[in-house]
Symmetry: C2
Subunit: 326 residues, 2 copies
């Protein structure tokens, strides 16, 4: 393989590290995954990232001279200028970690870091479900709710890199603060964490549910969103009432996105996108009904085409854009 026609992309999440080697056109050459040692030191997390990157290079038979650069899609708030992970709740030991410079030293190649939701949007735009459009919103509905926004074919991050904080959008001004500094924020009402919290609270307050035994049997502090959806599918009335409420909020959030950004396409990813029929589809139906001038009826809402590789492929696109001409 000729010099510098491959890039590395690393997706750094709270539970998993995924490294890919790919060509600039997005063709994946190899992929290696590892668990994130999220309770250990930042030094240790970066060491696992480095090992994973070396493993993927070895699998793809690339030496360092054949790799143009590495891109990282990280959870949390990123200082794009320095490539520093400023803060990520899922990675509690890694606040203010200079990820780009650490990887540059350890791997001996140029490095660039971006937010994972932003880079998932970029990945889907460049190589996936958004290839044919210039304006899209990627909504990641998971333990939190994040978004990446493409406007005019470019990643939109606002004047200081903080645009697109869709999870921190107030949907219910009288709602709980929960996971945000904003009252009744989308993330506090519709994320997996929110669904699990509401179920746990309502059972603890004495409401009847098949989830009660799950909660007491396992002697845990709370349920998971997966357990709420399992109860919903088995006909549990409390779980169904919780999902019905959450659909109204998620529908309002989707409608706000349409009314503010009027994208050509919305891509909904993240763990809860696997509950498409039970959760995403009814929220989309509400959005189609409510949106200004009915514009949402013309807005396709689709799952990611790249699945769990969207972030790492977006990181490769970012590395390509940043270092191609240097």
């Amino acid at each position: 393989m000729s010099t510098c026609d491959a890039f590395l992309g690393i997706d750094l999440g709270g539970t998993k590290i995924l490294a890919l080697a790919a060509r600039p056109d997005g063709t994946t050459l190899a992929s290696v995954a590892a668990e994130t040692p999220s309770r250990e030191s930042a030094e240790r997390v970066v060491a696992v990232m480095t090992e994973t990157a070396r493993a993927v290079m070895s699998q793809a038979e690339l030496d360092a001279t054949a790799v143009a650069a590495v891109g990282v899609a990280s959870a949390g708030a990123i200082d794009a200028g320095t490539g520093t992970l400023v803060h990520a709740p899922q990675l509690p030991t890694m606040s203010n970690t200079p990820l780009a410079s650490m990887l540059r030293q350890r791997l001996g190649m140029s490095a660039v870091v971006g937010n994972d939701a932003n880079l998932a949007a970029l990945g889907e735009h460049r190589y996936g479900a958004g290839r044919r459009v210039q304006d899209l919103v990627f909504l990641a509905v998971s333990t939190g709710i994040g978004a990446g926004i493409i406007i005019g074919g470019e990643l939109f991050t606002g004047s200081a890199g903080f645009a697109g904080e869709v999870g921190h959008m107030t949907i219910d001004a009288h709602g709980p603060y929960g996971l945000s500094t904003m009252p009744g924020a989308l993330e506090s009402l519709c994320s997996g964490t929110a669904l699990a919290r509401v179920a746990t609270e309502r059972i603890t307050a004495g409401e009847y549910s098949s989830m009660t035994s799950v909660l007491s049997n396992t002697n845990r502090k709370g349920l998971t969103a997966r357990e709420v959806f399992a109860a919903h599918h088995s006909g549990d009335a409390l779980a169904q009432s919780i999902i019905t409420d959450a659909v109204v909020y998620l529908g309002a959030g989707l409608t706000n996105v349409v009314n503010l950004f009027n994208p050509e396409t919305i891509i909904v990813g993240g763990g809860l996108a696997s509950e498409w029929d039970a959760y995403i589809a009814p929220a989309v139906a509400l959005m189609r009904e409510q949106s200004f001038a009915g514009i949402g009826r013309l807005t396709p809402v689709v799952p990611p085409a790249l699945g769990s590789e969207a972030g790492a492929l977006g990181a490769i696109a970012l590395a390509n854009d940043t270092f191609r001409n240097r």
Copy 2:
């Protein structure tokens, strides 16, 4: 004056038509205002626009050959491709009026039409309070709530021209439908129409207020926002409670704008911007406190520098951009 170095800009509102003649750099040569005959036919409204345009040309001593084009900033939803006013609640007789082609015929010059909030944003960006920034949001808080958004120095209108419908953003998912297809939309909770409606409803429901006599004396169906603010300033408890509630909603709306667009500057105009200390400033204080990662503390919120001429000057900028090189 040499050929084609001036443009006309017309701001078409529900109550007023304002026509300006200006140079491409925004220097105003003359201005003429007229009342909008909003209950009369579309034909008659366009006739008043034409007369006003001719009056401003005469005042500036411009003949038709000296004017490059006319731009129109219109209330309501505009089909930008054809220059048609699709629908404006403030201009009930003018649905589906082909404004651009009617003005082209009557004035004998090229014509282009845009939405008034969008063009106020463009005017402030090109000639006013947003001259030094590349990303701004212009929020018009008036009988309704509209917005114009500049991203990367360009007007952002989304994939089908409907982006920036900030007034139709749900802030309270359990709130009233009011003026929107969305529950608890910003416009239904914070606009002048909303404040007046809430005051009227609460008095009709029996709450005590100094506004009661205003309502019964004049034998009207409802109060105006101006009367609610007057009562607020004279210490009326009901008016103060209504404004306090509305500040929470407007603060949430401003915070959502910051969290989603992260603009360099927010400009707040429209009739209620005259109640800056009583209404806008406390909402801004809430936004600074709530915004994600405190980013709103760095976001200046300022009144328009162009006052009521922002829309007409934005229309001149649009006409300049559209026809300069033809």
